[in-house]
């Protein structure tokens, strides 16, 4: 059935970035249409390409294509010394660099058996939780933007700016910090750090309430997000979803409480779980709200850590020519987007034999295809946004 017109159409499709075989999957004689969403679509927050097979306004299927941001992070890991890899971990999930640095540092510390000074642990918790707030603020702000609410975006980015200022003061960076190193942190906190942190946290909760009023309990916002794209707990676990996505589906699971690494067992805080208040359990509103509530908990952890921070060294002695013993090691940590895990194989030399990055967004993204079935295109934007994907981590 391929006439001249068909071939011309194939050429057109090719120039638009479609593969001809993809077009062939369309049922003949139907009203189905292939639409390319991304890789530059604003709601994909990066370079994710989704190929939508639509029938009118309804999506039959959405197939994700990744790799636009592939920077060979794992190959680089095999070619640089352990400490030199820290800045590369910054660029995995670039919205939560501190947490990435920390996960990498803990993996290597576990491999080499390095004990971290208590002061360093407290500093790590404070900066990681501040970074978690900053990361969730980006999600909340841009999610509102995706759904047509502009004001919360300005509010959240103003707050995030203050966190970036605080983190800049101790690390020198505003996005990629490289602050948490193997054995501790790069430098001690500045004398004004604790005061600035406290001042920020004190006023922050009221700002968060304002965001809640503006966006979370806004009637239009609830109508756009409740009952959209519900993800069941079984499905979430089987697909390897972690972090807020898993908790929103009603699974009471947070590594910071259930597998307390570092000093998280010393703090008093709650794990936020989706309850399906506005609609079905695990819908996009739940996924959004889990993050907002987590920010309140981050404030609690930060305040307690600031209270208990002891004096002492901020970094263990790690030799300049650092060579961990031969072996293999897997370690995971709770990042803003889920469980970031590193698998490292060492042969006792300066460089790892293999570094595997298990990015949480990668596994979280894999359920999108299934959720997309029989969904309106505009609802799909709400679903993709609620997954808070960072493509740096998916493509690595």
């Amino acid at each position: 059935m391929t006439g001249v017109g068909e071939e011309a159409m194939d050429v057109d499709l090719k120039s638009l970035g479609f593969r001809v075989e993809e077009r062939r999957t369309l049922a003949s004689g139907s009203d189905e249409l292939l639409i390319n969403m991304g890789p530059q679509h604003p709601s994909t927050h990066g370079v994710l390409r989704l190929l939508l097979r639509t029938d009118g306004e309804e999506i039959q299927e959405a197939v994700p294509f990744m790799g636009y941001l592939h920077r060979c992070a794992e190959k680089i890991g095999e070619n640089v010394p352990y400490d030199t890899y820290t800045p590369y971990t910054d660029r995995l999930d670039y919205l939560s660099s501190m947490n990435n640095n920390w996960a990498w540092a803990m993996t290597v510390e576990k491999l080499a058996g390095i004990e971290v000074p208590q002061r360093a642990e407290y500093i790590r918790v404070i900066v990681a939780e501040l970074n978690r707030i900053a990361s969730h603020l980006v999600m909340v702000g841009t999610y509102g933007l995706d759904l047509g609410a502009f004001t919360p975006f300005l509010l959240t980015f103003r707050e995030r700016e203050e966190i970036l200022d605080i983190l800049e003061e101790i690390s020198g960076g505003r996005l990629c910090y490289g602050y948490i190193r193997i054995g501790g942190v790069t430098d001690d906190i500045t004398p004004t750090f604790a005061t600035k942190c406290r001042a920020f946290l004190r006023q922050y909760v009221s700002k968060l309430d304002a965001i809640n009023e503006l966006l979370s309990y806004n009637r239009i916002f609830i109508r756009r997000t409740a009952n959209v794209g519900p993800l069941s707990a079984e499905k979430a676990i089987a697909c390897g979803c972690t972090g807020p996505i898993l908790r929103a589906s009603g699974v009471d699971w947070d590594l910071r409480r259930d597998e307390p690494y570092s000093i998280y067992d010393k703090f008093d805080w709650n794990v936020c779980v989706g309850k399906g208040e506005k609609g079905q359990l695990g819908d996009t509103w739940d996924r959004y709200m889990v993050r907002v509530r987590e920010m309140y908990e981050c404030v609690k952890i930060c305040e307690q850590a600031l209270e208990g921070i002891p004096e002492g060294p901020f970094r263990a002695k790690v030799p300049r020519n650092f060579k961990p013993p031969a072996g293999e090691c897997y370690f995971r940590a709770e990042n803003p987007r889920g469980e970031l895990a590193f698998y490292v194989v060492s042969d006792g030399s300066k460089r790892p034999v293999r570094v595997k990055v298990r990015g949480p967004s990668f596994c979280n993204l894999s359920v999108v295809q299934e959720l997309s079935r029989n969904m309106l295109v505009s609802d799909f934007v709400a679903v993709v946004g609620s997954f808070d994907l960072v493509m740096g981590e998916v493509d690595r």
Partner: protein
Amino acid sequence: MNQEAKAGEPKPPVINNSMRFRTEEAFPVLKSHFGDAVRSLSDTRPDRHILVRPGFLPEICKFLRDDPDWQCNMLHCVTGLDQAETLAVVYHLFSMPKRHFVVLKTEVLRDSPMVPTLAHIWPSADWLERETFDLFGIVFEGHPDLRRILLPDEWIGHPLRKDYEMPTHEKLRELGL
């Protein structure tokens, strides 16, 4: 607090070892159930793994998922490894109700790297295996949709193999990449 923490000594980690690995306990259980299919328990540190024959991998995994003692309901990670003569795939199985990890490893020949898929046991294996196929060229038999995932479809070779040679810019231009 020990302020003179020494690095590089082969002592067990003092902190941040919150993950519970039960690979050692799993080994005799799997050995009694599957016999020769389970080859050996490694003595690597700090984590150990069980070496299994690739053909029996789905059965072993199904057992670890369904057995009430193990309940590994999540496939946390799939990793490819280049070990010079052989290629290997490492599986990190996690049980949320029991809160433990079991690490399995399987080795295949470089020339015909075929491993049965686990996508029908855990859906998360789908993309993780596609990634391993993309970067190592390990073929997962029975996988529903084994395509490249990170690299372009036209890419030649599998970059995380140790003998991979980076194509020159001219070569890339030829391929239209």
